[in-house]
Symmetry: C2
Subunit: 121 residues, 2 copies
């Protein structure tokens, strides 16, 4: 039961990381993080058909990383800062944890200069 | 050809984001970012069989996020800071880009208080 609720809770991260595991989708997020763009703007540098881009866009939209809005004949896409923020937060927390770990190791080694083999285990 | 070389270049990010798209693997990275652990230590909070954990470990190792080493009968796993650093860097750059975008919009709106429709372009 614990795992089940953990899975539900973590769904947005699953979807966001999955969406970012594709180079075309990352290229789209890169483009959109510089400003809104139409679907054809997104397609140009990717040398991809519009339907292929639309499929990638759908994955990005269901992950919450991107949203789009159709006005007249043009669909304009924007990055959704909140979802990428959740990813950034998760990664930053892990980074902070392991840096603390190395700081502790460094402090230990500094405090025990007489034990040159301390680093080996 | 451009797309091909882009794909090759981006492979590590593909693998890292794919590895992180699973809650069990993220739980393992979370645990390891607090310090090295054996495979059975990793398995405990996940309520998963050792073979299942080993499979997730394999995905994490091929992504470069984690490495493991067997000494005697115990396999000890560690986080590989460089690979998670690449992910952190990618996410941070996107965040910086879109924040710049909002700053520019904010500056524009501050400079044009007399145009309430300026946001609509």
């Amino acid at each position: 039961m614990i795992l089940k609720s953990m899975l539900n809770y973590q769904m947005p991260l699953d979807l966001a990381f999955h969406a970012l595991a594709d180079p075309a989708r990352r290229a789209m997020v890169e483009r959109l993080s510089r400003g809104p763009a139409s679907v054809s703007d997104l397609a140009k540098p990717l040398a991809m058909s519009l339907p292929a881009v639309m499929q990638h866009l759908q994955v990005l939209e269901s992950s919450g990383l991107v949203r789009s809005e159709k006005v007249g004949r043009v669909r304009t896409c924007r990055v959704e800062p909140k979802a990428l923020g959740v990813v950034a937060e998760w990664v930053a927390r892990r980074r902070a944890s392991w840096e603390q770990q190395f700081d502790r190791l460094g402090a230990y080694l500094a405090a025990h200069p007489e034990e040159p083999n301390a680093k080996k285990d």
